[in-house]
């Protein structure tokens, strides 16, 4: 337990100090989205990595959060913070109600059902033109503010998003190391066995589904206030798949793995720009290679790689890389 706390504090310290060497360059802006994507991946990881329930509709909850906040602030004059809370509560209710019928399904059927939820949500964003601006998007969303402090620069938004992200990481860490987390893992390994041991599997699955939906919705709210413009294309099926990829590449069943996966998938396209027209091919090859050679994701893969290199190159220049 003690080492976990030290690990988290070290991580938080890195997060807080990271913008300093970047001195307001565009990477600060990219890291805002790493924070947002990281929490989305984390939410899905609780559901998939711990409880073993797949969801291909995470972008729907992210979109509901973004559109909920966007519509309430621009069309109904809500205070952004109030809107965020209202939207989070509404999404919680919605996900809870949806969870019971959907999570009775297993495997491919569950994947199909959640995919359907994602598609329906996207159609709703597109078709409710009077509220959401439809396919042309919704502009003029205000920035968040506390008193006279308005979050209108990359640096301010970075700290805002990462404060939320750190809070949710801490929450998740506590959750997976609690009785609840152990019960989730039991459901993952064998639902029948877990039920025999007295775990209310059905309710627990719905609870964790709701939690991941709410996490996504809160990030959606933050996203819309950071961007000040949203359009339905950002919340489609492809984004749901991207979140899933972050989870798998980062490491199923690992809290920090989700953040690592988001970091890699958000930064990788930036690093591959040197390949110009071939960047997508290289990107695909890298992902395939990683999935083949690091089945446990980056969290297990990187230390393993390190162990491979270390004994042969002890005392060489690896350390200062």
């Amino acid at each position: 337990m003690r080492s976990d706390r030290i690990k988290f504090l070290a991580f938080a310290l890195v997060v807080l100090l990271l913008p300093l060497p970047l001195s307001g360059g565009y990477l600060t802006n990219v890291l805002i989205f790493v924070g947002i994507n990281g929490v989305l991946a984390l939410g899905l990881n609780l559901l998939l990595g711990y409880a073993g329930q797949i969801s291909l509709g995470q972008a729907a909850f992210f979109g509901l959060g973004a559109y909920g906040s966007g519509v309430l602030t621009t069309q109904f004059g809500f205070n952004p913070w109030v809107a965020m809370v209202v939207v989070a509560l509404c999404v919680a209710l919605f996900a809870f109600a949806l969870g019971f019928p959907v999570l009775r399904l297993k495997g491919h059927y569950l994947a199909m059902a959640t995919l359907g939820v994602g598609v329906i949500a996207n159609i709703a964003f597109n078709e409710t033109v009077d509220l959401t601006g439809g396919p042309s998007g919704l502009s003029g969303i205000p920035n968040l503010a506390i008193g006279t402090l308005t979050f209108d620069s990359d640096l301010k938004n970075y700290y805002l998003v990462w404060c939320f992200a750190l809070g949710m990481i801490l929450l998740s860490l506590n959750l997976v190391n609690s009785r609840f987390g152990r019960a989730l893992r039991a459901i993952h390994d064998s639902e029948v066995a877990a039920r025999v041991m007295g775990v209310n599997a059905r309710l627990m699955k719905v609870q964790v589904f709701t939690l991941s939906a709410v996490m996504s919705a809160i990030m959606g709210s933050l996203y819309c206030h950071v961007m000040t413009f949203i359009s339905p294309t950002s919340f489609g099926f492809s984004f749901s798949v991207e979140i899933l990829t972050m989870v798998v590449i980062g490491g199923l069943g690992s809290v920090y793995g989700s953040i690592l996966g988001a970091l890699l998938l958000t930064l990788l396209p930036e690093m591959l720009r040197t390949f110009q027209d071939y960047d997508i091919i290289v990107y695909g090859l890298l992902l395939v290679t990683m999935t083949i050679y690091m089945p446990g994701g980056l969290v297990e893969g990187i230390p393993a790689l390190f162990r491979l290199i270390m004994p042969t190159k002890k005392g060489s220049e690896v350390g200062n890389a």
């Binding site: 307001g24 360059g25 565009y26 802006n29 990219v30 989205f33 597109n126 078709e127 033109v129 439809g134 396919p135 042309s136 998007g137 502009s139 209108d152 990359d154 961007m227 000040t228 413009f229 949203i230 359009s231 294309t233 950002s234 396209p269 930036e270 720009r273 997508i280 220049e317």
Partner: protein, 379 residues
């Protein structure tokens, strides 16, 4: 090891310096285009054209003796990415102006970035929201849908046709067109007897067309980008609809005729003049620019320069003119852009002003008809 690397670097740097003439540093211009993704039919010709124009300018000695450097990024048609890349152009590459993005969604997303950074942006997308209301740093080259709609309605009025059915795609291009079609109908004495939409990925529009048939309109207006309109043309032919079919400028390239095949015969659409450059009278102001663009594109890419590449050609040329007149600072470029008058480009004749950052009139569009797999002007 480290020493070796630094020596190598130093020698490489020296080598580069000795080969490059010690001229003034190049003027950096940013470009954001949706080269991949669903809007790549816009982004690819735009990127090709922008690169081509910059190469030509540099070959001719640059702008006022300074070379231009074009830094292009691919947004993939994703608003989040577009914002990140706009930030990169502004903060890391420190460009003096940006051309693009290709889509209205991407453009709307990057507007807050360029407004804050005070860097001029010349968008290549058509959405009316981009320049209405006017934003200080944002201009655009793609014709407003308003003008295309007005051009079609004018023709219908001339032919005394008053009942129309509209069929629009449910994306930003289609919904913007639908808004305009409905808003201007009254002004031209047009009555919309049927109003339907279809999804961008739909492969059969027979149900909508059957419904339209029963409404007995004088004309059908379809608003979308490939491949949807081609499907609609084929479906209409299958159903044996004898009602005149109008398309939007979103399909004004040879690609549409290829996709629709025989079904394209007789279809009319408003288009930028690039499709019919060789048919234009000599007196047309744009003829020189159009022919130059088409010839250049053919030489560089062995393909036909289209309407979409034209948006980037206009953006680059407007920028070149602005740098010549206003210097190489973002503010200077912006002010010179706003003062642009009567620039005959590919999309039309541009005259910007403090009240108008779109700069075109309805003369930007001509009405063309498909005849024997080619375009003819509608008289």
């Amino acid at each position: 090891m480290k020493k070796l690397v630094s020596t190598a670097f130093a020698s490489l740097a020296l080598f580069c310096m000795s080969t490059a003439a010690l001229a003034a540093p190049p003027i950096k211009i940013g470009a954001l285009f949706a080269v991949t993704g669903p809007a790549s039919f816009l982004g690819e010709p735009e990127r090709n054209t922008a690169q081509m124009v910059v190469d030509e300018i540099n070959k001719a000695g640059g702008v006022k003796g300074r070379k231009l450097e074009l830094i292009t990024y691919d947004t993939g048609g994703d608003a989040t990415k577009a914002v990140q890349l706009a930030n990169k152009l502004v903060k890391n590459d420190q460009v003096v102006a940006i051309i693009g993005p290709s889509t209205t969604g991407d453009t709307m997303a990057v507007i807050p970035v360029v407004e804050k950074a005070q860097v001029p942006l010349i968008s290549c997308s058509a959405g009316i929201k981009i320049t209405e209301p006017v934003k200080k740093w944002v201009f655009k080259t793609a014709q407003n849908d308003t003008l295309a709609v007005a051009r079609i309605y004018e023709q219908l009025k001339k032919e005394k046709k008053s009942k129309v059915a509209i069929l629009t795609v449910s994306d930003s291009f289609g919904s913007s067109g639908r808004e305009q079609l409905k808003a201007q109908a009254k002004h031209f004495g047009i009555q919309i007897v049927s109003d339907d939409t279809y999804g961008p990925k739909d492969t059969d529009m027979t149900p909508q067309l059957t419904k339209i048939k029963s409404a007995k309109p004088d004309a059908i207006i379809c608003w979308g980008t490939n491949p949807g309109p081609a499907v609609i043309a084929r479906n209409a032919k299958q159903l044996g609809l004898a009602i005149p079919l109008y398309m939007s400028h979103g399909v004004s390239s040879k690609k549409f005729i290829e996709l629709a095949g025989d079904a394209a015969e007789g279809i009319r659409l408003p288009s930028g003049k690039v499709l019919v450059a060789d048919l234009l009278p000599k007196s047309d102001k744009q003829k020189g620019s159009l022919l130059a663009f088409i010839k250049d594109y053919q030489n560089h890419y062995r393909a036909e320069g289209d309407h979409f590449g034209g948006h980037a050609w206009d953006a680059m040329m407007l920028l070149k003119g602005a740098i010549e007149r206003g210097g190489d600072t973002p503010a200077g470029i912006r002010n010179a852009l706003e003062a642009t008058r009567n620039f005959a480009g590919i999309g039309g004749v541009f005259s910007y002003s403090a009240k108008d950052h779109a700069g075109l009139t309805k003369d930007a569009f001509t009405l063309v008809e498909v005849r024997k797999k080619d375009w003819v002007l509608v008289k």
